[in-house]
């Protein structure tokens, strides 16, 4: 069993999460044959599993990705950037020329693709392991599963693992700064928490610590499959029923943060396209 790790446009956080798997790492480290951050190897050899981290932003990365597909028996989208666009995908709100100018201060002779695409746009993907980063527990479970040929899926939302109880209340507006009650659902306290529409499996580490879910694991099966379901419509309905006020989402971009370029969320009801169009025209997204 050979594992290779390929890095595209990303922060390397997912590879660091792989190093956090404690005693499981000893088992994994023997099998890793190529990883820019961990192992000393020049070329990607033929592998059984290739974990691809990061979105496709440049033409060079596209070539790397295509080569990885040729060399891999099973290609895994590792982390949210490669599975759904993720944080790298957020760059798509602005024009590529503007990004280069903002960072380097001048025009470079370097070509970016128009968007930061998730990898399934170009090659076929066998498994998606979203998460920003996927928790070490998820990673070790997934690698165990791939060794045995039986991968466990997580198709329930974060709420199923969270353990906070819903209280029906009346609130006037969205809260952002105050400390939340430790036992009551964050939505019913007026925080915009994406837990009810986000894929679980992370053991709800954020919401248990009192931080609203940002939706890093991407949408659940229900939200992906149903054409009329979307982050905004779902959250709007739930907040209206539980906390009793008509929400006006001011920063739509932060709700869609992890799914900007994913074609799974390319629906009529979602406002991703509108946000991108506004941002590219120079307005506030």
């Amino acid at each position: 069993m050979k594992i290779g790790i390929v890095k595209l446009a990303s922060c390397s956080g997912c590879q660091i999460a792989l190093l956090d798997t404690h005693e499981k790492l000893l088992e994994i480290a023997d099998k890793v044959v190529y990883a820019p951050l961990i192992k000393d190897a020049r070329e990607l050899p033929d592998c059984d599993v290739v974990l691809v981290e990061g979105a496709v932003r440049t033409e060079h990365e596209l070539e790397v990705l295509k080569r990885a597909r040729e060399r891999a028996k099973k290609l895994v989208a590792f982390g949210s950037c490669s599975a759904l666009g993720g944080i790298s995908g957020m760059g798509s709100i602005h024009k590529p020329e503007k990004l280069i100018e903002d960072i380097y201060g001048r025009d470079l002779d370097y070509k970016l693709l128009d968007f930061a695409y998730p990898i399934d746009r170009f090659v076929e993907v066998d498994y998606y392991l979203p998460g920003c980063p996927p928790t070490p527990e998820l990673i070790s479970k997934f690698i165990d599963g791939i060794l045995n040929g039986r991968v466990e899926r997580h198709d329930y939302p974060v709420c199923a693992e969270c353990g906070r109880l819903v209280v029906h209340t009346k609130i006037d507006n969205i809260k952002k700064t105050e400390l939340p009650d430790p036992k009551v659902c964050l939505l019913s306290q007026g925080y915009v928490c994406l837990g009810s529409v986000t894929r679980g499996g992370c053991r709800a580490i954020c919401t248990k610590a009192g931080v609203p879910c940002r939706g890093c694991r991407g949408p659940t099966d229900k939200v992906m499959v149903m054409p009329c379901k979307d982050y905004l419509t779902e959250l709007h309905d739930r907040i209206e029923r539980i906390a009793g006020f008509d929400v006006k989402f001011n920063d739509v971009a932060s709700i869609y943060a992890f799914v900007f370029t994913s074609d799974m969320m390319d629906k009529l009801v979602s406002r991703i396209k509108e946000v991108i169009r506004k941002g590219r025209r120079g307005g506030r997204a």
Binding site: F142, H154, P157, C159, C185, S196, K222, V225, R241
Partner: protein, 81 residues
């Protein structure tokens, strides 16, 4: 005969299933949903559609396959771990 099971560990007590059930099968008992007479269930699956914690399971239901299906998306969704 349709059987409905509510996973109590997952349930967060939002009671949206109680509101949405058209025949009143699921009722509010001490701020927790409770299945009273399951034989009245018409199998509309509204409760499992609206459940945010994916806690409601139906057994012995006559319609299990979705009629409208986007094959491209369904194939992809199966691969999300």
């Amino acid at each position: 005969m349709i059987r409905i099971e509510i996973d109590e560990d997952r349930c967060v007590g939002c009671l949206e299933c109680v509101d949405v059930c058209p025949t009143g099968v699921i009722i509010n008992k001490n701020n927790k949903p409770f299945v009273e007479n399951a034989e009245r269930c018409i199998g509309c699956l509204s409760c499992s559609y609206v459940c945010r914690a994916d806690a409601i399971k139906h057994e012995g239901i006559h319609v299990e396959e979705k009629i409208v299906k986007n094959v491209y998306i369904e194939e992809k969704v199966e691969r999300f771990v």
